[in-house]
Symmetry: C2
Subunit: 199 residues, 2 copies
């Protein structure tokens, strides 16, 4: 016999869209919501709808935001000719909190990962290259994480821009290999940013 009723089974399947959630976790989640937190489950349903309809990408830097252009890109005090490429919003925040960067960003929302079907288009590189053509960009800081995928992504971008004559830099060594950028302490990150090098 089936262990769960048809509608419960459908919820279990629907929960598996969440990353890292397998069958057993989805079953535990469905039962928990149905048994112990129906209110929270309805709030989640509502919030999924309103966040999905309200949030899109900043048309310039790809940061998830409610406006067409995010608060960083629309800040007139920032240098639009200096772009720092990061993998995630968390990494952007980490750099912002050093307080020394005055350019703008480009957020990849991931990194190249051919196995998962994530190519240049999926991380928005065509938009980055368009911007480099259109604006007079002076420096591109490749601040992807020092992981295999982050390095490969930086390498790909550098190769594509080889003939353009733009100054391309990477954060200085000092960041531990294999670490996530947003877990690095502020002092190290501050130092790494200041001693960035042309590559």
């Amino acid at each position: 016999m089936a262990t769960y009723s048809p509608l419960t089974e459908k919820l279990i399947q629907a929960l598996r869209v969440l990353p890292g959630v397998g069958l057993k976790s989805a079953q535990r989640m469905a039962l928990h919501l149905l048994e112990r937190d129906r209110e929270g489950a309805l709030r989640l349903a509502d919030q999924l709808r309103s966040t999905l309809s309200g949030v899109s990408h900043c048309q310039q830097c790809r940061l998830l935001c409610e406006a067409d252009i995010c608060h960083i890109c629309s800040d007139e005090l920032r240098n639009q000719r200096q772009i720092c490429v990061v993998e995630t919003p968390a990494n952007l925040s980490a750099i912002e909190s050093t307080g020394i960067y005055e350019g703008v960003y480009f957020v990849l929302m991931g990194h190249l990962s051919p196995i998962d079907g994530i190519g240049p288009e999926e991380i928005g590189l065509h938009l980055l290259f368009e911007q480099i053509e259109q604006r007079q960009v002076e420096e591109l800081i490749l601040a992807t994480s020092p992981t295999v995928e982050g390095e490969a992504t930086a390498h790909y971008i550098r190769q594509k821009l080889d003939a353009k004559g733009i100054k391309i830099t990477r954060l200085a060594h000092g960041i531990p290999m294999g670490a996530e950028l947003d877990q690095v302490d502020g002092h190290t990150l501050h130092h790494a940013l200041q001693s960035r090098k042309v590559v």
Copy 2:
């Protein structure tokens, strides 16, 4: 600065109703849905709504189902005077698949856990005791899992029914201590059910 836009932040918080999902997991889930699977996220929102509105408890055995009385309780070939108490639908399925049990069930949907605020009412024991008063129940099989919480729950039920003169049994030894009932092989469970003992 805030790392995520206000609506993204709200989704991250809403996702934390899911058991086992902390801040980091919720952030990863929100970004994944917004970046890579908006369709799946909308399906999840819809399914949460329809499952929550369509699924309630069987009024007799508490199994989650779409009808007032589930397909097991409404099966006329089953012995309504024999009730097997289990913790979860998965455990019910495990017993069903032995093919030798012809009574009905009572599904606790958990076990006593005072630390988590789960007392007798939360696992529906008042409904079980009502049914034992109303129907002429001949045997109550306490098939809770052989874990600390499962044993404590069985102990509580047995104590409450001490003076009622009902035959109360537990599954025979043979189930490994500390194991989840639905992970025990069919042969062992078959044997344990057949050699159940009055307690």
